[in-house]
């Protein structure tokens, strides 16, 4: 199990790099779109699709960034009461919490899929960019699926901690 986990984690590290790349691109495009729209609007050549582009980039960067935020422990919550628990129970509560997160995210993914299928089937096109809305609704679907994946691997890690490597061999 240890070796399998290590391989999975190598894969996740590579995945993380790809996600980081797209987060950076999305933020750059988002900022530039808003900046350019300020200039064009004040020069009386409003480009209506710029605002839309910025908004869609925001959808994508937050969804992709959510998995990264989990990995970097950057999801704010109230940990004070949990940390008052004795170590063994606390570890159990932390793992339980991750299972609950997987349950909730799975709900988001499952219903996100329904929504995604709906906009693809009806062939919805965005108002200004004229792109299929499926590209936008895919954001939550992809982002939350990846986040779920990260959490599942982290739960496995709770059960097979790194220190046990030698015993496993």
């Amino acid at each position: 199990m240890q070796q399998v986990l290590e391989k999975i984690e190598k894969g996740l590290a590579a995945l993380e790099k790809v996600m980081s790349f797209f987060v950076i691109v999305a933020i750059v495009v988002m900022s530039l779109s808003v900046i350019i729209s300020v200039f064009t609007r004040n020069m009386d050549i409003p480009i209506t699709w710029l605002e839309e582009l910025a908004r869609y980039m925001q959808v994508w960067f937050v969804c992709l960034g959510s998995g990264l935020a989990f990995r970097h422990n950057n999801l704010p919550g109230i940990e004070f009461f949990r940390d008052l628990l004795p170590p063994k129970i606390r570890q159990f509560v932390i793992s339980l919490g991750k299972v609950i997160m997987v349950y909730f995210l799975w709900q988001l993914v499952a219903h996100g899929k329904v929504l995604f299928d709906h906009v693809v089937r009806t062939g919805q096109i965005s108002a200004n960019l004229r792109i299929p809305m499926g590209w936008v609704y895919a954001g939550p679907l992809v982002g939350f699926s990846l986040m779920t994946l990260f959490i599942i691997v982290s739960i496995l890690r709770d059960f097979f901690p790194v220190q046990a490597v030698k015993e496993g061999k």
Partner: protein
Amino acid sequence: MALIVIAVFVLALLIGLPMFIVLGLTCLAYFLLNDISPLMIVQRMFVGLDGFVTMAVPLFILAGNLMNTGGALDRLVKFANVVVGHVRGGLAQVNVLGSMFFAGISGAATADVAALGPLEVKAMTDSGYEKDFATALTVASATLGPLIPPSLHMVIYGVTVSQSIGALFMAGVVPGILLGLAMMVQVDYFAKKYNFPKGSRPSLKLLAKEFIRAIGPLGLPAIIVLGIFTGFFTPTEAAAMACLYAFIIGKFVYKELTWRNLPKVFLDTGIICAGSMLIVAISNCFSWVIAIENIPQIVTEFLLSITSNKYILLLLINIGLLILGCFMEGVSAIIITAPILVPAVMALGVDPIHFGLIMNLNITLGLLTPPMGLSLFIASSFTKLPVTRIARKTMPFFLMMVGLLLIFTFVPEITMFLPNLLTK
């Protein structure tokens, strides 16, 4: 049924789940119990993520990060040093003034502690200040961050209760400056009492030189405020222009931003923002549930049943928010309480812009109080001082700020003077 939903909320909160999961589970429980499809959650979250006004949050954070990496920090501190460094307790005054300057490029108190803190504490302890005091002052002065524009708390509040973010920014200006000045007076008192060291008086030439060096970051809040004030751009656009401005200064004037360190600035911003933006997105669903269930009205009636005296109620709300701030970080606290409390205080005739400042300052003060004061923990992580020791030393400043909070609460004119100019 309502009890089950509340129980889910409280349990999820207590076991330390991320805030967006807590709010999400609460909505999910509500929908399942009421036979509403959970599809609503995804739909409303999407609307939240797809918002143009909320974009001010990531853009302001990006602008602050670009400024920091671009070398603004060092220049702001140096300028503060030539302005007040030569008086008794000079470096302590630099700490406060530096935070006021920094508040103009960053919208969050914790960013102030993390970025300026190590620098300020080292400078102060090197010249003979007690480390406890230096750390406590750093934590206390960071409170100015969310008051002086730009302010993330104000953006979140404005988005949550649909109020003008421009007016909210304006509302923070006078209280922010007053709070800073009051802190400087307090520092001066300590400086004379404990005979703090003082630096040498700089020449006028040096003063001018450092001012010119720091003029870039110093000018940013002015550009934001004036831009919104004149209607040249919206808050989101102001945030984007702040990014452009920070980029140009960091890249071409100070030349400390390089193509190599830029990707990291963007990525760090993305990761930090994703956490907060998820809360903002899910709040779109949460506040819908609150509105459907008529909770604001129930709370209003409950509050009015205690007393119909506006001042007593505001005092009670202040106490409640201060306690909440001890446990919950700002974005979540505002998102949960603003939609419930704002209709109640509006029924009492309190201006929602004025209340935005009250709520913001309250929640920010929570950063200084154990057990959950985030600023204390950040400061403790780099000074290696126990949180309780820093908190004890912060007390005099905390009490002064609570006093000012009460004055701001009961004298709305201090806060409303600038926003009123905006609307006239």
